[in-house]
Structures are given as structure tokens and as C-alpha cells.
């Protein structure tokens, strides 16, 4: 998810979101208020509300893609994309009947909305080759029909026209799969926003000669992680992003970043990307695995999956490993090899079930925890788009020497391994290396900063272990195994009873049970009511629900930003989350939003609901 509020594209990506789970209140709110640029943008024409549903069946997608391939192969659509700038610009329109009457009305500089849409429809359809499924929108500035109708196009990110064009294009039948929008100078974020909203299944795309400036342009705030999931080929030549990459000698990095944005991409700027494939040849068209989805889980929750013969070995190893991790991290030098890898990431999502149970206020020290220390140490959460490929390289520790440096940056911990029920392990053998290896996944909890903060975190840790060779440094230091690979993920606390052995209900089953139980069975856990006795506030004083799950430092930041801006809790939180809980930065982001024209914050941002 993008780390910025809308209209702040210039925020450097080095300032990441500290805790902005994708399903946070803010994100949903943004969607509701239409603040999200791109897929939430209001096109404001009547037409726009009757959008085609974006969902298509798997089958039809596949067919489309097959057609796309044919078009590219047979009719050389990708070549057409390069040639197109010239051909479209020539205005190959047959001299059709006169356009809408607008031009006859004297002294009326701007055409009426309806006639504008009519003109756009005409322009789009004349530029569509339905046989090749190829839509050529190159050089719109010199289009005769647009000029005649005196239609000008806003090129900036606020452009409505780009959305109108894409919406009309989405109504073409059959829908286009190859689109060239070359030489229009459009802002990159509005192009990708409009494509994501109206033509998410585009396969071949030429954006030569536009203003794609940053990788961020390919992200939708609060939207899905990946957009344009069918994209096979894209051309971004003559855009600032590409030009900067060339100037800086970083074309390879640029190519990798683009490939990362569009995992299905095969050709970038006319040059094939290294292929990566998954699985056996996928069946086309795709077929459903299940005729009728099951209602219940196939198995209950099971205990740790560890073969009995290695049980003792694993638990001895982990006990020792976690003890050293807690008490003398530098001594772990001997358990890693010169090739071993380590990295950590944190997931700041507030676990919904833990939230409902109110751990934040029922447990003594949870509100002292925030993510600043983990964030500062360099979380390698690759879901966060502020982690560029270079960051991903930097945040990977390789070799024992480097790893112990990395470990030393993390907050101190205490794993209470004597309380066995608080941990669960899944272990399996691997055969991907030269010798036998074990894949070990541990889930559990630890005390963060024991003695000072004493809050509880949950964690997941995945290790690849190999037997320590005789006479190796590891063996001499008492290790039976070496750690080949080590990935640590830290989460907000959620109880170990998640893995209590026994039946598992789907959320559907739970919901149905609640409905059939009737109104008297409503659970009475109301966080804000239950909290007052712990926070010391009087019974009449109820903490705002959004503050419930926040650390004390975050609550203080909320109060401060509210005082400075008058924003309501929801918007204050949205603003802080997007700015890594940095008050100064949140305030300047706020100023930017308020002072932009048109203002980017809706009136309800100041109204407490």
C-alpha cells in the first residue's frame, strides 16, 4: 500500500508507513469519500456511474488473453503500438456527419457535457480496430474531432478526461486488449489509475511520451497490491522515469522494479524480461477445483507437526537458540555460516480477534508498544512499497558477521520457552541443498524490552537448518545444527489459543451460529466500555474506539495532530499512519492537502462522527 495520502506524490519513499494495515479505517474511509485517486476518483459524468463491473470470469479472461497473443503475433500489435503515434495523429477519421450541435451555438466556449461525451465516444470508436482489439489513443492533442469540439484535455493527475476516455474505451465491444496512449504527456498516476479502474485486463500497453515519473504512479492508494494483472507488454520509453534511469545508469534496476509491479509482464520497452514460470503448464481455460465450495474445514487444528525422532533435537536446539537470542546475541555468530541469510519484517495489522478481546487494555504493558524501534531497524516487509529493490538488498543480512550486526539493531527480547503452550512448531525435511535440511516454522510470543517496556509481541520465525559438520565452529560451540536461512516476522500480540487443538470453525459458520442464536446472544464485549476501568477515566468518559488499539505515544500524536488541525479521529489517524506517525510530517501533509486546489479533504474530515 502506498504510504502517502493522495496528491502527495512527491513524498520521498524513504518515509514509510509505520502502521497502515490495508484494511484500516482510513483506507475504507478514503474509498467511501472517494478520496482515493485512481479507482476512487469521481468522473462526475452521468455515464461514469453506470460502470461495467470489472469482474470477468476466468474463462473470458483467458480467452481475451489468447486473443491478445494472436493479435500481437498475427497483426503485430506491438509493432503497431510503436508505429501508432504517426497513424493516429494523421486523423484517419472518415468525414462523418457533423458532430454534436455544440459548435453551432455562438459564444459558447465549452461544449455541453452530453455533447462532450458524444464527441469522446466518436473519437474512441474511430480509433478502435476491433479486429486487432487495438485501441490507438496516441496524440489526442491533434485529433481533429476534439479540436472541432474545442475539447481540451487536462494532463495532470486531476484529469477527468483521462478517466472519461478509459471509461468509454471499457464499453467497446469486444474490449480492447492492446492500448496505445503514446505522446499525450499525461501524468502517470492518472493513466494507471484510470486503467486500473476501467480497463484492468489490458494486455499490451504503450505509454511512450507521457509523464510517468515514479513507480508510485503504478500504485493505487488503498487499492490492490498489484494492478493490471494481465499485462504482458508495456512501453515506457520517453517518460521521466525511464529517462532518469538512463541518466543515472540504473536501467537494470528500473527494469526489475517495473517487473515487480507487474508480475505477469514479459516484455518491457520492446526487450523481453527473463521468464519466470510457476507450476506445470497451466490448464486453459482455467477450471474450478471445487464444484461446490465446502462449508467446513477438512481437519481440526492439530498440534505441532514434528516427527518424533527429531522432536528432542529440535526443541533443544530452539531452546538454546532463543536463549542466546535473548541474552547474548553476538554469541549466535557461531550458529550462522558465512553464507547464511537473515532478515526481519513486521506486520502492524491489529489482529481482529485480539482487538475484540481487548488485549491492548486488559494486559498491562501493551499500550507502551509501538513499531518505531522495529521500523528504525529496517523492516524488510516487501509488501510495503517503500521497500525498493535496493532497500530489499540492503535489508538482507548475509553471512554470520553481517547477521550479528543486524541482530544487534533489534529491540531486546525474552522468549519464555518454559511455557510450551505458547509456542507451536511445524517441521519438515527438505532436499533442496547438498545435504539434508529441515524447514522449521515457529510461532509464539516474546516480551519486548524486558524490564523497561515488558509488552508482549507475537512472532513467526522460519528457519532452514542443516546438521553442523564435525569440527565446525558451530559444533565446537555446542550447536548440533547451523542456521542456513532465518526469517523473523513480528506481529501485534494475538493469543496462543489461536492454535488450541480441536475443531475449527469458518467465519461463515461462526456468523451463522450468531444469527441463529438470536439477539439475546450478542456478545457484550465492548472495548470502549470495558476499558474505562483500566484507563482510570470516569465511567461516563469513553475513549474513542480508534484510540483503543493505539500505543500511548500514538494516542499522544493523535491528540496533538487533532489540536493542530481540528481533524476528526479518523482523519487524524489516516494522516498519521500515512506519515509514519511523524507529527511534523503529518502536519505538513495536512497543510498540503488543505491548500491544494481543489481542496483534497472533504468537509467530514473535521466532523466527529
Amino acid at each position: 500500500m502506498s504510504a502517502s495520502l493522495p496528491v502527495t506524490p512527491q513524498r520521498p519513499r524513504t518515509i514509510p508507513t509505520v502502521s497502515a494495515p490495508r484494511r484500516n479505517v482510513a483506507g475504507q474511509l478514503l474509498k467511501k469519500t472517494g478520496l482515493i485517486r485512481g479507482n476512487g476518483e469521481d468522473v462526475s459524468m452521468k455515464e461514469a456511474s453506470s460502470s461495467k463491473p470489472q469482474h470477468r470470469s476466468m474463462r473470458s479472461r483467458t480467452t481475451m488473453q489468447a486473443k491478445a497473443m494472436e493479435a500481437v503475433k498475427g497483426k503485430a500489435a506491438s509493432m503497431a503500438m510503436q508505429r501508432s503515434s504517426a497513424s493516429a495523429a494523421r486523423g484517419e477519421t472518415p468525414p462523418t456527419t457533423r458532430g454534436p450541435v455544440t459548435s453551432r451555438i455562438p459564444k459558447r466556449p465549452v461544449a455541453s457535457e452530453a455533447s462532450v461525451v458524444e464527441t469522446w465516444k466518436k473519437v474512441v470508436s474511430k480509433r478502435y480496430n476491433a479486429q486487432n482489439l487495438f485501441l490507438n489513443l496516441d496524440n489526442l492533442a491533434v485529433d481533429e474531432d476534439l479540436a472541432k469540439a474545442k475539447i481540451t484535455i487536462t494532463k495532470t493527475r486531476e484529469s477527468r478526461e483521462v478517466h472519461v476516455i478509459m471509461k468509454i474505451a471499457s464499453q467497446l465491444d469486444p474490449p480492447p486488449i492492446t492500448i496505445s496512449i503514446a505522446n499525450n504527456g499525461f501524468d502517470g498516476s492518472v493513466i494507471f489509475g484510470a486503467l486500473n479502474r476501467w480497463l484492468p485486463n489490458v494486455v499490451n500497453l504503450s505509454l511512450i511520451g507521457n509523464k510517468v515519473r515514479s513507480y508510485r504512479d503504478m500504485e493505487i492508494f488503498g487499492g490492490p497490491k498489484w494492478i493490471l494483472k494481465k499485462l504482458r507488454e508495456i512501453i515506457l520509453l520517453e517518460n521521466p522515469l525511464h529517462e532518469t534511469a538512463v541518466t543515472d545508469g540504473k536501467v537494470e534496476l528500473y527494469r526489475n522494479e517495473i517487473a515487480r509491479k507487474f508480475p505477469s509482464l514479459e516484455i518491457l520497452d520492446n526487450i523481453p524480461l527473463p521468464h519466470i514460470k510457476y507450476g506445470v503448464a497451466p490448464t486453459t481455460p482455467r477450471v474450478p477445483l471445487v464444484p461446490q465450495p465446502a462449508r467446513s474445514f477438512p481437519t481440526p487444528m492439530r498440534p505441532s507437526a514434528v516427527a518424533p525422532e527429531i522432536g528432542a533435537f529440535i526443541s533443544n536446539f530452539l531452546e538454546s537458540f532463543l536463549d542466546k537470542f535473548d541474552n547474548s546475541r553476538p554469541s549466535l555468530h557461531t550458529v550462522y555460516t558465512p553464507q547464511s541469510t537473515f532478515s526481519f519484517s513486521y506486520d502492524s495489522t491489529i489482529p481482529p480477534q485480539a482487538r475484540q478481546r481487548g488485549f491492548m487494555y486488559k494486559m498491562p504493558n501493551q499500550r507502551k508498544l509501538d513499531w518505531k524501534a522495529w521500523h528504525g531497524a529496517g523492516s524488510r516487509n516487501l509488501m510495503k512499497t517503500h521497500n525498493s529493490l535496493q532497500d530489499a538488498r540492503d535489508k538482507l543480512y548475509t553471512g554470520a558477521d553481517d547477521i550479528v550486526v543486524g541482530l544487534s539493531t533489534l529491540p531486546t527480547t525474552k522468549h519464555i520457552v518454559t511455557e510450551g503452550e505458547k509456542f507451536v512448531l511445524d517441521v519438515m525435511q527438505l532436499d533442496v541443498g547438498a545435504g539434508p535440511q529441515l524447514l522449521v516454522t515457529v510461532h509464539g510470543e516474546f516480551v519486548e524490552e524486558p524490564g523497561t517496556i515488558d509488552g508482549i509481541r507475537s512472532f513467526d520465525r522460519t528457519l532452514v537448518l542443516a546438521p553442523a559438520p564435525d569440527n565446525s565452529v558451530a559444533k565446537i560451540n555446542g550447536w548440533e545444527a547451523v542456521v542456513i536461512s532465518d526469517q523473523l516476522n513480528i506481529r501485534a500480540y494475538s493469543s496462543h489459543d489461536s492454535w488450541t487443538i480441536g475443531p475449527l470453525l469458518t467465519q461463515q459458520e461462526e456468523a451463522e451460529a450468531v444469527i441463529s442464536a438470536g439477539p439475546s446472544q450478542t456478545r457484550s464485549e465492548n472495548p470502549s466500555a470495558a476499558m474505562s476501568d483500566v484507563t482510570g477515566s470516569g465511567p461516563g468518559e469513553v475513549l474513542h474506539p480508534l484510540l483503543v488499539d493505539l500505543a500511548d505515544s500514538q494516542r499522544a500524536a493523535m491528540t496533538q495532530l487533532k489540536a493542530m488541525t481540528g481533524l476528526n479521529y479518523q482523519y487524524a489517524m489516516m494522516c498519521l499512519e500515512a506519515n509514519g506517525w511523524d507529527i511534523a510530517q503529518a502536519k505538513s501533509n495536512f497543510d498540503e492537502l488543505v491548500n491544494s486546489i481543489p481542496p483534497q479533504l472533504p468537509p467530514e474530515a473535521w466532523i466527529e462522527s
Binding site: 519466470i276 480477534q353 519438515m428 489461536s498 456468523a511
Partner: protein, 176 residues
């Protein structure tokens, strides 16, 4: 982008750590991309309306799945297991990946955490009864490994053959 960002960037707050033994590993970019593409495909197949049968194609006979402690061996059994699994909706919140050292061809260790719902939601869930539809937190780790490349066909250019990744190991737990 770079130039503009530099202008506006406030002083970096990142913890500065001296890492004398740090090595830059450009080959990690490829691994990231492979893992990212995999995750997109995996969860799209998994969460499809009726689950996509292609999910089974991501496993092979040597694959092992441990699902909440239940061990399932081999592509066929995994396929049957997934056919009995209710409809799901995963949302990744965090993921990370490494090339596994000492593997040739390079295997990839991927870890994911996020939120998940199972089953279809009753359409008329009253607002006050939202308790029933709380997401779980899931944690999942994969080891991906490319299939050994076939012998290069006469006439084909060396190195052009795509890496084709399989799931060698898959462990999933509900953890919150």
C-alpha cells in the same frame, strides 16, 4: 523521481548501522520478483470463487503441505485436500523472501503473514453481530524450487529457458 525525492526528502531517520561485512547482492532482485509473481498467482488461485484447479499444478509429487499441523504429501493429495477447503479470502500484510544458501538451482524461502476469511458471508449480517466475521491472522512459509531445466534443444539458445518454480514445502498456521 530520484531527483524530486531528493529535494523534498526530510533528513533520514533511519538507524545508521555500521555494516563492514555487508555485501550487495544484485541477484536478490530476481528472487524477489520470482517470489512476488508466485504470491500473486498462488493467492489468486486459492481465493478464486471455486478455487482454481491450477493451484494443484504448483505442487508436485515431492511437495509437502503442513496445514495447521496436518501433513499432506504430494500434489494429488494436496489437490484433494484443497478441494475440501471452504472458500477463502487472503490479504497479505507482510512478506519476505531469501534465496536459500547452498541450493542449486536456487531455492527460495518465502514467508507471508496476513488476514484471512473462510466461507461465504451471510448477506444480511446485522451490524451488531459483526463478531462472527472476524478475520484470522495466518502465517505461511513456502520453499519454492525451480524444476531442473530440460536438456537444451538443438537450435534453442542457452539461457533462454524460463525458470519454472514449484512449491516444495508449504506450511500454514492460523496464528491470531
Amino acid at each position: 523521481m530520484a531527483a524530486r525525492d531528493k529535494q523534498l526528502a526530510p533528513p533520514a531517520k533511519k538507524q545508521q548501522v555500521h555494516r563492514p561485512n555487508k555485501i550487495d547482492r544484485p541477484e536478490v532482485d530476481y528472487v524477489n520478483r520470482a517470489a512476488e509473481g508466485f504470491l500473486q498467482i498462488y493467492y489468486e488461485c486459492m481465493d478464486g470463487p471455486q478455487r482454481d484447479a491450477n493451484i494443484a499444478e504448483l505442487y508436485r509429487d515431492t511437495s509437502v503441505l503442513i496445514w495447521n499441523g496436518e501433513t499432506v504429501n504430494g500434489a494429488q493429495q494436496i489437490k484433494e485436500f484443497y478441494a475440501k477447503m471452504p472458500q477463502s479470502k487472503h490479504e497479505i500484510q507482510s512478506w519476505d523472501c531469501h534465496p536459500v544458501p547452498g541450493t542449486n538451482p536456487t531455492a527460495i524461502l518465502v514467508t507471508v503473514s496476513g488476514i484471512v476469511l473462510h466461507g461465504e458471508m451471510p448477506p444480511k449480517m446485522p451490524q451488531t453481530k459483526k463478531h462472527g466475521v472476524l478475520h484470522r491472522i495466518f502465517s505461511q512459509s513456502f520453499v519454492l524450487t525451480p524444476e531442473p531445466k530440460p536438456m537444451i534443444q538443438p537450435g534453442a539458445e542457452a539461457g533462454q529457458e524460463a525458470d519454472r518454480y514449484f512449491i516444495r514445502a508449504d506450511t500454514m498456521r492460523f496464528v491470531g
